[in-house]
């Protein structure tokens, strides 16, 4: 009986290609839409998380003044000096690396191309603090840092706009009117929460101080906290040390501030969680919409087939044979549609993910849930109307228009 029924089911599918296609299409779209959406959503979430981690874990930013600006009225709070840097390195426990930063903006020129960018004056320790990697070339040598030589490491955006395909390492370019040699290119970091992180030129701090800022001040100190230590404890010690060094009286407001990147990271993680939830909600809605599409075509198809059920019953088919046939048809079409949907989603996500600059993350759970849900709707809504039709008196089923 099962063999016969399966034969009949495949015959019916084959014979009604359009109807079978439409039924399958509902499931294909349902599954493909959901899987694509969730996979891309997860990719986007992962991309945001990746950028958060690119901020550098457990890094304290020490700046003069309060907040990001230099503070309100009154005298300008003084910048830091090199001895502050040395003090932090020597007197603070739980510090992994300390890097000074001086910023300046200017135009870089190479063979008639020019590009406006930001110059960071720092030391090799910066790469450790910010987890920046050099993709091509090298970091600064100790003697280049010590002497403040005219060498630079450029970000990928600068490379693209200035060198346009030619190999930059070893070339000499001009930055703010000064000639400098490119020794390295930074690994791509992409768009971060703070603009294009690849649009930078990094140079030894001593060179930037001498040629661009004209003093030996340090505008910002980055402190990487050792993983074994608690960031907030190190932050308090750092604040205490700086109050002492900058002679801030007890009860007076600090003339500097320490900013924990973990705070940004926590904020962004919260945002990411919301993003994930939105993606989930959208997916649930599309699954529901897809499901309604499947129900629709299944119900129409069964109504159309009531007369056929009547014929089969009249010539001696037992109700459960007719039902089994419909069940097999529904299972075959639903599963086929589900598999095609998964396949299309795979192609779509693999194609769209690079365009969106998000990683392609194959999530077996999402694929499984979308498949099972759609296939179940297909089977249930293919089966139950058929059961109603098979319960009819064959005469009534035959008369059905």
């Amino acid at each position: 009986m099962l063999g016969t029924t399966i034969t009949l089911a495949f015959r019916a599918i084959n014979r009604h290609k359009l109807r079978s296609f439409l039924t399958t299409l509902g499931i294909i779209i349902g599954v493909a839409a959901v899987v694509t959406m969730v996979t891309l959503g997860n990719g986007a979430t992962a991309a945001v998380r990746e950028q958060i981690s690119s901020l550098g874990a457990n890094v304290l930013q020490l700046r003069p003044g309060q907040g990001f600006g230099r503070g309100g009225g009154g005298p300008r709070p003084p910048d830091f000096k090199e001895r502050d840097l040395t003090a932090i390195e020597n007197q603070l426990t739980g510090v992994r690396a300390v890097a000074p930063v001086v910023q300046s903006s200017g135009t870089a020129i190479y063979e008639g191309n020019n590009w406006s960018t930001t110059v960071y004056g720092t030391t090799s320790a910066y790469s450790e603090v910010q987890q920046w990697k050099v993709a091509d070339g090298r970091l600064f040598l100790p003697d280049e840092e010590e002497a403040g030589k005219s060498v630079c490491i450029i970000g990928n955006t600068v490379r693209t706009n200035l060198f346009q395909g030619t190999e930059p390492v070893g070339k000499r370019m001009r930055i703010k009117g000064v000639s400098c040699q490119v020794v390295g290119v930074l690994a791509t970091r992409g768009q971060g929460g703070f603009g294009d992180q690849d649009d930078v030129v990094v140079m030894p701090i001593k060179f930037v101080q001498r040629r661009f800022t004209g003093d030996r001040d340090i505008s910002q100190i980055m402190v990487a906290v050792d993983d074994a230590y608690d960031t907030s404890t190190v932050q308090s010690s750092l604040e205490e040390l700086m109050r002492e060094r900058r002679k801030v009286k007890a009860g007076d407001q600090d003339n500097f501030n320490v900013f924990d990147t973990k705070q940004i990271s926590d904020t962004l993680t919260g945002t990411t969680t919301i993003l994930t939830q939105i993606v989930g909600a959208v997916a649930a809605i599309s699954l529901l919409v897809g499901g309604i599409g499947i129900m629709n075509i299944m119900l129409v198809s069964v109504t159309e087939r009531t007369r056929e059920i009547g014929i089969r019953l009249a010539i001696g088919a037992v109700a459960r044979e007719v039902l089994l046939q419909f069940l097999v048809e529904a299972i075959v079409l639903s599963c086929l549609g589900g598999l095609i949907g998964l396949f299309l989603a795979l192609i779509a996500t693999a194609a769209i993910a690079p365009l969106m600059q998000v990683p392609f993350l194959f999530d077996i759970k999402v694929n499984f849930i979308a498949f099972v849900f759609s296939a179940a709707i297909g089977v249930v809504f293919g089966y139950f109307p058929a059961r109603r039709a098979a319960a009819l008196n064959p005469i009534d089923a035959l008369r059905h228009e």
Binding site: R11, R15, R312, L313, A314, I315, G316, A317, V318, N393
Partner: protein, 234 residues
């Protein structure tokens, strides 16, 4: 009418549709005996209960009251599946509207009852082609209903009804959708099957010309058998 050893026997069969004040009594107590090998035409105006009777005779419907014996079995006590198996084994149906499966070849339509009987592919093909041969459509076996004329479709339906070598062939206005020339062809085919294959034929019709082919004519009126005409065998 009373016949010794009838294949079909109805005693006081009633059928009521609906319930309460809207209930409609379609059959008010039918007594019929049909002998094996007879050719019976059931006639009567619309609403006289002839179609209801045919549905009960075809084991498609159950009587509300009375007894219905088919080959000595009390059909009124059987459930849906048991009646389906009875149809599969002993009955063939021909409908006014042909009721062939669309997009399905003549042969596959004819083979369908054999599929439900679990016959193998070879047997299905042989029996299916033999049945199509009997109705003169052997060369049309691979045509779908859409490619066949009304008369041809009805002959495919007859081939489907007789492919299992049933004891009884039930035809509900088999010529209702056909012109008179095709109708006569169909009636000649039914007469031939009745005479040469020994199939008992029960046919509902309201055309006296068609009923004339039968040996016994049962006239229905208002849910009762009005009279039974027996033609003297020629």
């Amino acid at each position: 009418m009373s016949i010794a050893d009838p294949i079909i026997s109805m005693r006081g069969v009633t059928k009521v549709y609906g319930q309460g004040p809207t209930a409609f009594q379609a059959l008010k107590g039918i007594d019929i005996d049909i002998a094996q090998g007879d050719f019976v035409a059931v006639m009567g105006p619309s609403g006289s209960g002839k179609s209801t009777t045919m549905n009960i005779l075809g084991c498609l419907d159950v009587p509300s009251g009375g007894e219905f014996l088919f080959k000595g079995r009390h059909v009124e006590t059987l459930d849906r599946d048991q009646r389906a198996l009875l149809r599969r084994r002993y009955l063939g149906f021909v409908f006014q509207g042909f009721n062939l499966l669309s997009r399905t070849t003549a042969l596959e339509n004819v083979e369908l009852p054999l599929l439900y009987r679990g016959e193998d592919k070879k047997t299905r093909y042989d029996m299916g082609m033999a049945a199509l041969d009997k109705v003169g459509l052997k060369d049309w076996w691979d045509h779908t209903p859409a490619e066949l004329s009304g008369g041809q479709q009805q002959r495919v339906a007859i081939a489907r009804a007789i492919v299992t070598h049933p004891d009884v062939l039930l035809a509900d206005e088999p010529t209702g959708n056909l012109d008179s020339e095709r109708s006569v062809e169909i009636m000649e085919l039914l007469t031939d099957l009745n005479r040469n294959s020994g199939i008992t034929v029960l046919m509902v019709t309201h055309e006296p010309d068609m009923a004339a082919f039968a040996r016994t004519i049962v006239h229905f009126k208002d849910g009762l058998v009005e009279r039974v005409e027996q033609k003297v065998a020629a």
